[in-house]
C-alpha cells in the first residue's frame, strides 16, 4: 500500500494532489504483466540461428549465382544455373516433343510434391485415430505416454537400417511372402510390394505417420473433459461433439503435424532409393546428384526451389489453421 504514503491526507474535503506518475503506472493493470524480458529469452536462439542458419543459407543463395566450373564453383554472377533449371529445349515449339512440358527439375519437384501430398493424406487418416485413442480412450497419463513412446521407438533405430530391413520383409523371399505362400493365400510371391509406387508410399507412411500422431495427441490431451461432458449433457451426438469441439480444438495439432511431415517428405531422398529401387527421383536426390559431381550452383538452385515450395506449403497450412492467432 505504498500509494497511501505518497498522497498527503489533509482530509476528505479539498483538492488532493495528483498521484505521482510512478504510482499511476503501478496501479495500471496489464493483462500479461511480468515474465522475463523478451530480449533475454530470444537472444541465445536468435544468435544461434543467425550464425548457423541464416549465414549458411545466404551463402547457398550466393552459390546459386556462381559459375560452375568442372570441379566446384567460381565466384561471379551468372544466371546459368537458373537457366539450366528452367530451360526446356523446344518449350515454345509446337512441333517439338517437349512442347509446353516443364523441365525435368520442375517436374521432379512436382512429383516430389505429389508423393508428399498423398503420403500426408494417409498419415492423417491413419494417425488421427491413434492420437484420438491415446488422448481420449487411454485414461492414465503414464499409459498414454508409454504407448506413445512405443510408437516412437522405431525412430531410434537408424533410418538406414530400417530402410534396408524392408527388403527381407517384402521381397520375393521375404517374411511376408513366406507367410502368404505358407497360408496358401497366393501361389507365387507377390512382387508389387517392393520397388513399386505402392511400396514406396506405404514405406513413407510407415516411417512418418508417428510424427503426426504426436502433435495431435498433445492438442487432444489438453481438451478439458468437462467441456465434453457438458456437451453430452446438452444432448450432442458424438459426431456433433467431434465436429464442433474436438475437431477444431485439435486443429493446431493437426497443422503442426502436417507441417512436420510435409517438410520431411519434401526433403526425402533415401527411401526412394532403398524401397523404390531408385526408380523415381525426388528433388532431394537431384540435389545430391549435383553435389556428387561438384556442381554446387545447380545443387543450390534446386535446393532454393525446394525451399520455396516448402515455404509456400507451410504458409498455406498456416493460413488454413492460424496457430499464431490461437495464442
Amino acid at each position: 500500500m505504498a500509494q497511501l504514503d505518497h498522497a498527503p491526507h489533509p482530509g476528505l474535503i479539498g483538492a488532493q494532489p495528483a498521484p505521482p506518475p510512478e504510482v499511476v503506472e503501478q496501479t495500471k493493470i496489464y493483462r500479461r504483466e511480468g515474465g522475463f524480458p523478451i530480449s533475454w529469452l530470444v537472444a541465445p536462439a536468435t544468435l544461434w540461428l543467425f550464425l548457423f542458419l541464416v549465414v549458411p543459407l545466404l551463402s547457398i543463395v550466393v552459390f546459386s549465382f556462381w559459375k560452375s566450373t568442372g570441379y566446384g564453383m567460381e565466384p561471379g554472377f551468372t544466371l546459368d544455373a537458373y537457366q539450366n533449371y528452367f530451360e526446356v529445349e523446344g518449350f515454345f515449339d509446337a512441333s517439338h516433343r517437349k512442347f509446353l512440358t516443364p523441365s525435368v527439375f520442375v517436374s521432379t519437384l512436382f512429383s516430389t510434391f505429389k508423393f508428399t501430398v498423398v503420403v500426408m493424406f494417409f498419415c492423417l487418416l491413419l494417425g488421427y485415430p491413434i492420437a484420438y485413442f491415446l488422448a481420449m480412450q487411454v485414461k492414465a497419463f503414464k499409459w498414454q505416454l508409454s504407448l506413445f513412446l512405443v510408437c516412437m521407438v522405431p525412430f531410434w533405430t537408424s533410418y538406414l537400417i530400417r530402410a534396408v530391413a524392408w527388403i527381407p520383409m517384402l521381397g520375393r523371399r521375404g517374411l511376408l511372402n513366406t507367410f502368404l505362400l505358407y497360408m496358401d493365400i497366393v501361389d507365387k510371391p507377390v512382387t508389387f510390394l517392393l520397388y513399386s509406387e505402392f511400396g514406396y508410399v506405404m514405406a513413407l507412411v510407415q516411417i512418418y505417420v508417428v510424427l503426426i500422431v504426436g502433435p495431435i495427441f498433445f492438442s487432444l490431451a489438453k481438451i478439458d473433459d468437462d467441456i465434453l461432458e457438458a456437451a453430452r449433457d446438452m444432448g450432442a451426438t458424438s459426431f456433433q461433439i467431434f465436429r464442433e469441439i474436438i475437431g477444431p480444438l485439435s486443429l493446431p495439432g493437426v497443422a503442426i503435424g502436417l507441417i512436420f511431415i510435409f517438410v520431411m517428405l519434401m526433403g526425402e531422398f533415401a527411401t526412394a532409393v532403398v524401397v523404390y529401387g531408385g526408380k523415381t527421383s525426388t528433388t532431394g536426390t537431384v540435389i545430391l546428384n549435383f553435389y556428387g559431381v561438384a556442381n554446387y550452383p545447380a545443387s543450390a538452385v534446386n535446393a532454393l526451389m525446394l525451399m520455396l515450395a516448402m515455404m509456400i506449403g507451410v504458409i498455406v497450412i498456416l493460413r488454413v489453421v492460424n496457430i499464431r492467432k490461437e495464442l
Binding site: F36, L41, V153, T157, I161, L175
Partner: protein, 275 residues
C-alpha cells in the same frame, strides 16, 4: 446401479475397436523390424536376406568387437552424446522462444519464419554452406561443434512448435497469482510455469534427441574426422550390408522398450508414494 448398461457396453466396444486398431497400427509401424529381429540371428554364413542359413549369435557378437569398416562403438557413443546435448539445447531454446512468443514483440513474425526455415533448408546444402564458410574462416568441423550447431538448427523448429502448442493452452492466471503473491520472476517460472509445461519440454527434448541421433544429411561435411553413427553405418554399407546392423537395430529397440518399461515402473512407484 447396473454394471453393464448399454452405454457402458457401447463404450467398451469402441474402446476395444480402437485398441485393436492401435495394435494393428503398431504392427504396421514396426513392420520391417520383425524381419530385422529375425535376421539378427542369422547364421554365420548368411546375409541380410532370407533364407536363414542356420541361427547364431555371431552377428550379435560383432557388436562388441571392433568393426571391419569404421568404428561402430565409437560412432554410437558420439551419436548418443551429441543427441543428448542437442536434446538439452533444443528443450531450453524451444521453451525460451515459446515463452517470448506469448507476447507480441518487434520482429516476431520474422523470427518465427526464420525458425521455420531451419526445417526447410535441405540438409546437404546447409552442410555445404556451413562447411565452405568454415573453410573460408579456417575453422575445422567437429561433431561436437559444427555438427551440433546444425543439428540444433534442425531440431529447434520441432521443439518450438511443440512448446507453442503447450503455451497455447496455458493458463497464465496461475502465474499472475504467483506474481501477485510477491514471487520473483524466476520463482514464478520454477514453481508454477515449469511443472506445468514439463510434458511439453520433455517432448521437445525427445524430438531433439531422436532427430539428432538419426541425422545424416546435415552431418556429412560437418562431422569432422570422426563419424557419427548414421555416417558410420552409411560408410559400412559401402563394403557390405551385414546382419550386424540388424543386431544393432534390434538391440536399440529392445533397449528403448526396456527404458519405457523402466519409466513406467518408476512413475508408478512415485505416483503411488505421492498419494
Amino acid at each position: 446401479m447396473a454394471k453393464w448398461t448399454p452405454e457402458r457396453r457401447k463404450k467398451l466396444w469402441i474402446k476395444s475397436g480402437y485398441s485393436v486398431y492401435f495394435l494393428v497400427f503398431v504392427l504396421f509401424i514396426y513392420g520391417p523390424m520383425f524381419a530385422m529381429f529375425v535376421l539378427s540371428f542369422q547364421g554365420r554364413r548368411g546375409g541380410t536376406s532370407f533364407p536363414m542359413r542356420g541361427t547364431s549369435l555371431y552377428w550379435w557378437g560383432k557388436l562388441i568387437e571392433p568393426s571391419t569398416v569404421g568404428d561402430m562403438q565409437g560412432a554410437l557413443l558420439r551419436s548418443l552424446i551429441l543427441a543428448l546435448i542437442v536434446m538439452v539445447i533444443t528443450a531450453v531454446f524451444s521453451t525460451m522462444l515459446a515463452m517470448a512468443f506469448r507476447k507480441k514483440f518487434y520482429g516476431a513474425g520474422f523470427l518465427f519464419y526464420t525458425v521455420m526455415a531451419g526445417l526447410m533448408v535441405p540438409g546437404v546444402l546447409l552442410s555445404l554452406g556451413m562447411a565452405t564458410l568454415m573453410q573460408f574462416l579456417g575453422i575445422s568441423p567437429h561433431w561436437w561443434s559444427s555438427a551440433l550447431a546444425v543439428h540444433v538448427v534442425w531440431t529447434l523448429p520441432f521443439g518450438f512448435l511443440v512448446m507453442m502448442a503447450v503455451f497455447n493452452r496455458f493458463d497464465e492466471r496461475l502465474e499472475e497469482a504467483a506474481r501477485d503473491m510477491g514471487a520473483s520472476e524466476w520463482t514464478v517460472f520454477k514453481e508454477v510455469t515449469f511443472p506445468l509445461i514439463l510434458p511439453g519440454v520433455v517432448a521437445a527434448g525427445l524430438f531433439g534427441f531422436t532427430l539428432s541421433y538419426d541425422e545424416f544429411a546435415r552431418t556429412t561435411l560437418l562431422a569432422g574426422e570422426f563419424n557419427t553413427l548414421p555416417l558410420d553405418i552409411n560408410a559400412s554399407m559401402t563394403q557390405r550390408i551385414r546382419p550386424t546392423l540388424f543386431a544393432l537395430g534390434t538391440a536399440s529397440t529392445i533397449f528403448s522398450l526396456g527404458m519405457i518399461g523402466v519409466f513406467l515402473g518408476i512413475y508408478s512407484i512415485l505416483y503411488r508414494r505421492a498419494r
